[in-house]
């Protein structure tokens, strides 16, 4: 490995990184199997590390060098690293290329070597030599000749000037509604002219008596040198012109760049967080709330897919180009804007942008008092709908309805927005704070439907982020829905997803199914709902469908830690362990903790043979539990193939008798040891306390012995699955034969 610091220009031309060749100028990384393109920011992060081989680059250094000092969230850097790892097929737990230095940063551990530039031969081949010069020499002399005749300079000057002409023409036509066929024609002509001009440059040279064929130019007659210097000025001036143009029209985009952009899914839109132009961040809740309101309204339009909040808000403060944002979120349109509040007055500016073509479709400013904010939101939403493709316009207008204000109380509305902002941060303190704010909002307006719904959702979610008892909080959430419905019957309908989730948690599968069906019919693009439904499907043995819905959730909410974690688990249940492993890494890079799915993660470690890590995790659990760990090593030794099954069984048996192992882990361990009777005994005992039994595990491949066990019918009945399957459909791998149920 090269030590110390490598100058940036030495890396710019390209460098070897392990078995890969990285070409920063081209934005590509190449291996034997082909080349992959990296986003500019991701490439910058890679170059930033490559410039200091072996050294750890801290988060602050990344921000300084890659984001030019702009404050970005940790998730953004994690995402860059995650993409790089994915590109290099590298893994955080067993790194070959990028090593995570916990709490500090990242470093490259693969060897780095700048690519050597080919040195052109300075020896001219003899004019009358009989023998042809060696191949590299011929290549070197050809390059020199191309350079001497200014072919490269002309190519560069032509390219820049041509691009500039096309862009200016296109902009003029768009602004003046000129003929649409003119820009493509100009592009074609410019492209066709390029080889012709280069051929002429090669064939003719400038002399004092005009252009002459190169073969007829005598020694000392050519003015190619002088022309070359003039061309340098032309290139420089053209570059400055292009730069000025690009800065003055940030939304314009050249045809070559368009070609690089992956096709966005049609009828997709991202509402980016509106910028708060007020002093400080006191009104952030208002600008964020406005974006969320627009998201909610647009998401109600059938056929229009709206990127979820987590992913859209991950772009906050990044100052990224709108096209790049659209590409990362995979959308066709982007809504962005700003909000400024001064006392009771609010000024909102909104833009609707065709992100793929790169131009603003619509832009407007709205101004009014705080009491008019709902009206302004309606006008913005209606204006956006008016710009959508014809097929969506009518549906959009119907979905937006009559624009009824959600509450008559602006105080309630502001408390509601603050609460929703807190709820988006899934930490215990924030969820509790959200609950308090929703309750205060309801003190101002008891008929505020959305506040009742969000309050119930926050209450249902709290047990996942705290030590609150799920059963108690779920009961509280249901009471909230019932109380809300007494004030406004629409609360019950709007909170169907919450009710369905609670039914799922209580193993009331059929009720949950009906609730999810109804909620999904209303809000098919709600990533949280899709993720909950994915959990439900896994629990009722529909693993493939569970994966399908996890993927749907991820397509809407690419940067959500929870959604990515769910996808990892769904991959596990469909036995795609490698994808699951990578997906767990992504969700952890995005900030999720192991504790979100400790059982599934532990299972993954065992599946992948990462026994040392599994041991560390299990040891931590046992130690926190202040329980002996004697059984762990014999068990892991058996899995490693270095210990006997008998020794593992004896150790686990002893541990279970002495209560040195939790029932959940005993069940898993018995399954790994092939002790199906013991496993079934543990399962039937655990199943009596729903919150402690992870139903999804029943359908894991490790639980095969459980599903083929003669008492599986008893378990399926205790879980309530038999009646659910009878009322819906039986999973393809399950059947009932003369009263006995088995699932393959």
């Amino acid at each position: 490995m090269t030590d110390g610091v490598i100058p940036a220009h030495a890396l710019d031309a390209g460098f070897r990184l392990g078995d890969w060749i990285v070409r920063p100028r081209h934005g590509t990384v190449e291996s034997e199997s082909g080349a992959e393109r990296l986003e500019p920011r991701v490439m910058s992060a890679l170059v930033c590390m490559a410039a200091r081989p072996g050294d750890t680059v801290t988060r602050e250094e990344f921000i300084r060098d890659v984001w030019m000092g702009r404050v970005v969230s940790d998730e953004v850097l994690s995402r860059c690293i995650s993409i790089l790892r994915s590109t290099f097929d590298d893994h955080a737990h067993d790194p070959r290329i990028i090593q995570t230095i916990p709490k500090i940063g990242y470093r490259l551990i693969a060897p780095i070597q700048p690519l050597e530039l080919p040195v052109p031969s300075t020896v001219e081949p003899a004019a009358n030599s009989v023998e042809a010069p060696p191949e590299p020499e011929r290549r070197g002399s050809l390059l020199l000749e191309l350079r001497r005749r200014n072919v490269f300079r002309v190519a560069a000057a032509y390219g820049i000037v041509g691009w500039l002409l096309i862009e200016v023409l296109r902009r003029a036509i768009e602004q003046n509604a000129g003929p649409g066929w003119l820009p493509p024609l100009a592009t074609t002509l410019v492209l066709l002219g390029w080889p012709i001009v280069l051929t002429l440059t090669w064939l003719f040279e400038p002399t004092k008596s005009g252009f002459k064929p190169s073969t007829k130019v005598r020694h000392g007659e050519s003015l190619a040198d002088l022309t070359g210097r003039r061309l340098d000025y032309v290139i420089l001036i053209a570059l400055v012109g292009a730069l000025i143009y690009a800065l003055s029209a940030p939304l314009q985009r050249g045809p070559s760049a368009d070609a690089d952009m992956p096709a966005a899914e049609p009828n997709t839109v991202a509402v980016l967080p509106f910028e708060n132009l007020g002093p400080g961040d006191a009104d952030d809740y208002l600008s964020d709330g406005l974006s969320e309101e627009l998201m909610t309204r647009l998401a109600a339009i059938p056929g229009l897919k709206v990127v979820a909040r987590t992913s859209a808000f991950a772009m906050k403060g990044q100052a990224a180009d709108v096209r790049e944002v659209a590409r990362r979120l995979g959308v066709e349109y982007v809504v962005e804007g700003s909000l400024r509040r001064q006392g009771d007055r609010v000024r909102i500016t909104a833009q609707f942008i065709d992100a793929r073509r790169g131009y603003e479709i619509w832009s407007q400013s709205f101004e009014g008092s705080m009491t008019e904010i709902f009206e302004m939101q309606d006008r913005i939403a209606l204006a956006i709908v008016g710009q959508l493709p014809a097929s969506l316009r009518q549906l959009g207008a119907q979905a937006l309805g009559d624009g009824e204000s959600p509450t008559a109380s602006i105080d309630a509305y502001q408390l509601f927005l603050r609460g929703r902002r807190q709820l988006a941060i899934r930490e215990e303190g924030n969820v509790r704070h959200a609950i308090a704010l929703f309750e205060k909002a309801l003190e101002h307006d008891r008929t505020y439907t959305d506040a009742w719904v969000e309050l119930a959702k926050a209450q249902a979610l709290l047990p996942f982020y705290s030590v609150e008892l799920p059963e108690e909080m779920h009961e509280l959430a249901l009471t909230t829905i019932a109380t809300g419905a007494a004030h406004d019957p629409r609360v019950a309908d709007r909170a169907r997803d919450v009710t369905a989730f609670i039914d799922y948690s209580r193993w009331r599968w059929l009720d949950a199914q009906r609730g999810f069906d109804a909620a999904l019919a209303e809000r098919p693009g709600d990533s949280n709902l899709l993720q909950w439904y994915s959990q439900f499907l896994a629990a009722v043995g529909r693993s493939a469908d569970s994966l399908d819905y996890a993927l749907r959730a991820r397509s809407i909410d690419v940067l959500s830690p929870v959604v990515n974690d769910r996808l990892a688990v769904a991959y596990m249940w469909t036995d795609q362990d490698e994808l699951a492993e990578r997906q767990f890494e992504v969700s952890r890079e995005l900030g999720i903790r192991i504790a979100a799915q400790p059982d599934a993660y532990l299972l993954l470690l065992l599946r992948r043979g990462r026994y040392d890590e599994a041991r560390t995790l299990a040891m931590t659990l046992q130690r926190m539990f202040a329980r002996p760990t004697d059984w762990l090593d014999p068990f892991l030794d058996y899995l490693r193939g270095t210990g006997s099954r008998e020794a593992a069984i004896a150790a686990l048996d002893r541990a279970e008798q002495e209560r040195a192992v939790s029932r959940r882990y005993a069940l898993g361990a018995w399954l790994f040891l092939g002790e199906d009777d013991r496993a079934m005994q543990s399962a039937l005992e655990l199943v009596r306390d729903p919150p402690e039994f992870e139903v999804e595990l029943v359908f894991a491949r490790e639980a095969d012995g459980l599903r083929r066990h003669p008492r599986f019918g008893e378990l399926a009945k205790a879980l309530g699955l038999e009646s659910y399957w009878d009322s819906t459909t039986w999973p393809a791998n399950c059947r009932r034969d003369r009263g006995m149920i088995t699932c393959g």
């Binding site: 215990e428 303190g429 509790r432 030590v467 609150e468 509280l476 209560r659 959940r664 655990l686």
Partner: protein
Amino acid sequence: MAVTLALPAAAGEGESHPAPATVIETMTRSTIEALPREGTAMAADPEHYYALARNTLKPFFDLDRAGRVILGPSWVGATAAERDAFQRAFEDYLVTSYAVALRHVTATTLTVAGEPRPVGAAEVLMPVRLVLVDGETLEAELRMRLGPSGWQIWDAGAGGLSVVKLYRGDIGTEAAVHGVARVVDSLRSMAARNRARNTEEARERATTQTRR
């Protein structure tokens, strides 16, 4: 269990109660001061550590609350006598489980590692750094609640895992399935096994030290 719905309050010095960080520092200092000197016969006797845990550490913990949360709905259905028996058995089990580790405590075993994060009007999560017996460092969080006796610890967690939640999955499940009386029996049995093991280990340590 009642849910705290009030806005999070700043977790600093109360009217007359020391702040959470001060409580943790005081607890560590009190433990070290109460520890026997090396080489004394007391050091080899686990009963000494049980007494130390009961007398010195107990005021810093709200075991009553931890026990209620662990039992959950079973607590509501239990009689006063069952609750009392459970609390005593649970305390004895915890003491016999964790107290022997006190012999390794030094000034750096448990240190405050950040500002408290409010999770309710009278509850915070206190980041701490814990050095385990094998030298491994664990970033953990102590859940503390402000009650009439000041800030007290009632749960500990690391990596998002919670000791109370872990116990709820085990002891709480047993109570839900078999009743509180059965849990009390189990806790007593486990405490007795802990005692036997700790005594055996202490004897072995004493023998080893004598040989040296």
